[in-house]
Symmetry: C3
Subunit: 345 residues, 3 copies
């Protein structure tokens, strides 16, 4: 595909500064940009590359004011990130998908698949499943009994979906993720031995959810573990039984939520952060990477840091002094010396 600056600007509602007719065939990173490619300046840290890149076209923010010569044709847009998303979509080889059931797949007769569904080799779909239009099932996917999956979903290789899970439309589940396994629930006898508590609940994943690779989401003991519309879950995240994740909430890699905690909408959970069980987290809360949240968070938009997590700025201030505790201890010692001197007088 060859596409001109003029066409791109029109596609993005942007404004061209430079050669309207220059053509590009692929996107590139600004630091690697070669002739015939289109790059992006989104993070101001990379601005110096704008003056050296060989990319033929450079997408920049409306507010961008160059401080030096730029050889690329500029296209100014209101939102660089949104424009990247739109353009990469255009450049990606979204070749027309053929919908067919591989003769090497194993689909039970009672499963109801829309005629336009793709099921690849060695996938297994059990009894009474329902799978919606244009949904794509990769090789080695396992879908157990009575699972419902909506339309326009992609289930990548080797994802395993336990029985009774319900998945909405337009969801993506990456390779190796496990949805609906039993929660970590036991009763303990007098000797400290555990008896397994059966998990008769399920997992519900609403529309527009993306789940990364090797994620684990436990089914509810009773009721449902719920991932609400638009939530984005990164790789290796753990979501325990009976948790609810709010709409448009994002959880970065390796974070985890313990049982029965309810996370609000548009919350951001940093990488490797954790929230203990039976808590409520308000909307738009931001949890810094590696933090450990042990209390309810009632304030919308609250930013948290630390272990256990406290107010973000309070943690940074306290940590700044903590790093220099030997100095503070020395000061206290010197105060005592001075007082001893004063006492002698």
């Amino acid at each position: 595909m060859l596409i001109s600056a003029k066409e791109i600007a029109s596609y993005l509602n942007g404004e061209v500064e430079g050669n309207l007719d220059v053509q590009v065939h692929a996107p590139s990173k600004i630091e690697d940009g070669e002739e015939g490619t289109i790059s992006f300046l989104a993070n101001p840290k990379y601005e110096h590359y704008a003056y050296t890149t060989n990319a033929s076209i450079l997408i920049v923010s409306n507010e961008f004011e160059p401080t030096d010569d730029i050889s690329s044709t500029l296209i100014k847009v209101p939102d660089v990130y949104a424009s990247i998303a739109k353009l990469l979509e255009k450049f990606s080889d979204s070749k027309s998908q053929k919908f067919q059931i591989s003769s090497f797949a194993f689909v039970e007769k009672s499963a109801e698949l829309h005629p336009e569904v793709s099921v690849d080799a060695y996938a297994v779909i059990k009894e009474h499943c329902e799978i919606g239009q244009r949904t794509i099932i990769y090789p080695h996917v396992f879908i157990d009994q009575s699972v419902k999956i909506g339309k326009d979903c992609i289930i990548y290789a080797g994802a395993k979906i336990y029985s009774n899970t319900i998945i909405g439309d337009n969801c993506i589940i990456h390779a190796g993720s496990v949805i609906g396994c039993d929660g970590f629930g036991y009763s303990k006898d007098d000797q400290g031995a555990y008896t397994k508590i059966k998990h008769v609940g399920n997992v519900i994943i609403e529309n527009d959810v993306e789940i990364g690779a090797n994620v684990t989401i436990d089914r509810a003991t009773m009721g449902s573990t719920i991932i609400r519309r638009g939530a984005k879950i990164d790789n290796l995240v753990q979501i325990a039984h009976n948790v609810e994740i709010g709409e448009d909430t994002a959880m970065a890699a390796q974070s985890g939520i313990a049982g029965s905690t309810k996370v609000g909408d548009r919350v951001i959970v940093g990488g490797q952060a954790g929230i203990v069980g039976h808590r409520k987290i308000a909307d738009e809360v931001q949890i810094q990477a590696q933090s450990g949240v042990i209390s309810n968070v009632k304030e919308v938009g609250k930013r948290l840091y630390g272990y256990p997590a406290i107010d973000y700025h309070s943690y940074l201030k306290a940590y700044a002094i903590m790093k220099n505790l030997p100095d503070l201890k020395q000061q206290v010692k010197e105060l005592q010396d001075q007082i001893n001197e004063l006492k002698k007088m």
Copy 2:
């Protein structure tokens, strides 16, 4: 299944307060309880729901004294959690399992499977494996050479078990877990390049162990990595080469144990916690979530918290002051001011 309060009470050795004949068909969460269902009050935090739930029957502790009217019939039991476990077991659709080898499974001739074993589509079982009675192998499970698995086990979809692993009776391994992969062991040359150390040991999993989804357990360099009877391992846990996990020890999700560490019996390891290599942890130790244990722990029942982990209460006390270090620093500054004043006198 319809079952009456009287029948349930007799099954649980409980005592009915209310309508002996009321019948239920399913369990429910106390906050969602509808007529015809049975709920549980286990966590005192949820007591307020006892007064509003529509569940026909409510299981409560012998000690529970209502402070308001309750519409549900109560069944009082000595241990609510144990009763939940028993009842969910009863309600779960434990339909009779058919034991058969799928014609789409690949089982080597030299593997010895009890006649009552179930192997589902696309599972692979290699040479010289032995698999015991009533064990169920889900699709896409891979069992490499000379693995022994006892009776009454469930190996969920896509679990991978490397050669020579030994698994006892009545074990559950959830989807995607990897048992017996090589440990992280290398020798380093003068230039800092690594040479792989072959891992000729194996993994031994004793009876009654449950292992969550996407867990990784490394084989020993020599000898065995051992998970003792009754241990419960949550999702995404890492257990390194030559580790031993004691009986009835529970490890919450995303925790990890480095090489050659021996963890005692009935230990509780919180989520995302870690223990460094070559340590010994006494029985019944409790490690708070996200803690990092770097020393041997000799005291039975010791409770640990922090990074590195120290005594639980000491950490909380120290952290309470750490959060307010700016105040302490200010106090020190004011003391100096006061001393300066005194000196002038």
Copy 3:
């Protein structure tokens, strides 16, 4: 295989002290060593076992000076770890691999496999892949379109490799790992909803890399996520889009690197440690387990600890006081009391 002390010493360039002709058939751990086996004393912590082990041969360091009687024949070597690696290699049953494509594997016609390649049951290899000599593909491996894998690689069961990934020679990828899944990249609209950013880049893994089980490595948004020659990645590690991991760098289990961070050569990342995105880490930096690195690290060989991570020794010193903050607070209180007394005078 029976092998004598003399033969082993010659193989390792070591020196025998004791019976040149004693023979062993297997390696053992020093604490479990039985007659007819060979053990190793690598970690000085285990020295006391040297005096009690029944192993017929014991490999020790040239510098080792026994302080008591040892019944084993000693072989003294310059580097015990390197000798372990060599010997375990020798003892491991490296039976000659047969190279064949299982008739239960699914390999697209356009894939180019060297005649000496092994592909096991239910593996799937898509269009336009290239796989080099003596590479072994285990069951349930999924290799998507246009992936290139070099020679002498082992791809263990159920690993999933997304399209366009490039893997060098002599690499090992353990079971369940996912290479080349989409990064966690979205643009956010005014309402806080996310739009997925297409990831058109790939993953490049250079020669001699080993990747543990259930690891996740994201493809680049544009360009490549790169794992350089000789890097060793432990189980359950997360490597985000556009990250670069340097040569001979080792990342312990459950550690994670956020997007676009460049990690230098011979760096050591401890277990459960994390590095935030868009940072540069110098060569030979050592990051203590569970630490959180939030800044660039420019000093070669710098050792880091803490959350956020600071200089290793500074953290330990500060933490030593932090643990005893109640004492420091009490001292400050007592200083105030003394000053109050002085003021009265």
